[in-house]
Amino acid sequence: MSITVKIPAPLRPLTANQSEVVVEGATVQAAVDELSRKFPGLKERLLDEKGALRRYVNLFRNDEDIRGGAGLATALAAGDRLTIVPAIAGGR
């Protein structure tokens, strides 16, 4: 099933400056794997060496924080929107 992934500006250099991309995946993990195949380097920015979501990055399925649910095992439905939200600190 196709889902739309919203790419934040800091990661767009890895997606040829696309702000959203469409991937296939029945779970968040599958979608991230597919993202990784399409856009090398992206997975490393999202997951640590153990395959867990990095502590300073969050993923939302539609408006739902996946950490509050099944995490990377969160099921996806066709038409879902997966939003990547990395921490940013800039203020000056």
């Binding site: 500006a9 800091p10 502590r55 300073y56 924080d65 509050g68 921490a87 940013i88 800039g90 000056r92």
Partner: protein
């Protein structure tokens, strides 16, 4: 008067402080920054002028705000003080004493998480604002009631990440986010907070994409101030 503490008097802190000072609401402002004004700051840090280059930011900003409308105001309706000091785990609690709200406009993750923790411990509402590149963020945090920064991100990234000075930031975006921080602060002070929603702006398109956050019961804020449902 409400005591409002602004942490970081830079791209976000300047417009936030200006908007608050112009709001007409009786305010006692405390500006905190340990940095000095650089020429490269002038394009987006709107309280500073060329003659301020080399001066401590907090002092220069307080001087400018204090001089505005000085004839029309008295110290019973507006006061502004400053501290040329770095916020840390050891200085934060004292700087937060008596505060009704903190606006975090700092520029590094370490300070942001320490400020978050201090607000949770002191139960002081926190307005979190950030801007980098073309993206701006705003989150109102009510300790014990809504998600804190650690509910959203478990902790800061390792090592240094680009700051505005290094990665760039769209100057108009600073004004948008800074003014929104001021508005959010006034909403809290008026007892009508819009908390628990992460607001995100894409300055290139003007799009705003809010995300509703939930408290994480396993977060330190959930342990210190348990969720009402627990």
């Amino acid at each position: 008067m409400s005591r409002v503490v602004i942490l970081g008097v830079g791209g976000l802190g300047c417009p936030a402080a200006l908007a608050l000072a112009e709001s007409g609401v009786p305010l006692d402002l405390l500006l905190i920054d340990d940095d000095v004004v650089e020429r490269s700051n002038l394009a987006r840090q709107i309280l500073f002028r060329e003659q301020d280059v080399g001066e401590p930011k907090a002092a220069a900003a307080a001087r400018r705000l204090g001089a505005m409308h000085s004839q029309a105001r008295d110290r019973a309706s507006f006061r502004v003080d400053f501290e040329n000091i770095r916020w840390s785990g050891s200085t934060g609690a004292a700087l937060l004493r008596g505060a009704d709200i903190l606006l975090d406009a700092s520029d590094n993750f370490a300070t942001r998480f320490v400020a978050n923790d201090a607000c949770i411990a002191a139960r002081v509402p926190l307005i979190h604002g950030a801007a980098l590149g073309w993206e701006g963020r705003l989150l109102t945090i009510l300790p014990g009631l809504t998600a804190c920064l650690r509910c959203l991100f478990e902790g800061p990234p390792p090592g240094p990440l680009p700051t505005c000075a290094e990665a760039g930031v769209a100057s108009p975006l600073c004004g948008v986010v800074g003014a929104a921080m001021a508005r959010a602060a006034l909403q809290v002070l008026a007892g009508k907070p819009a908390a628990g929603v992460l607001r995100r702006w894409e300055a290139r398109t003007g799009a705003e994409r809010p995300l509703t956050l939930r408290r994480d019961p396993s977060c330190a804020c959930g342990i210190l101030l348990p969720c009402p449902s627990q």
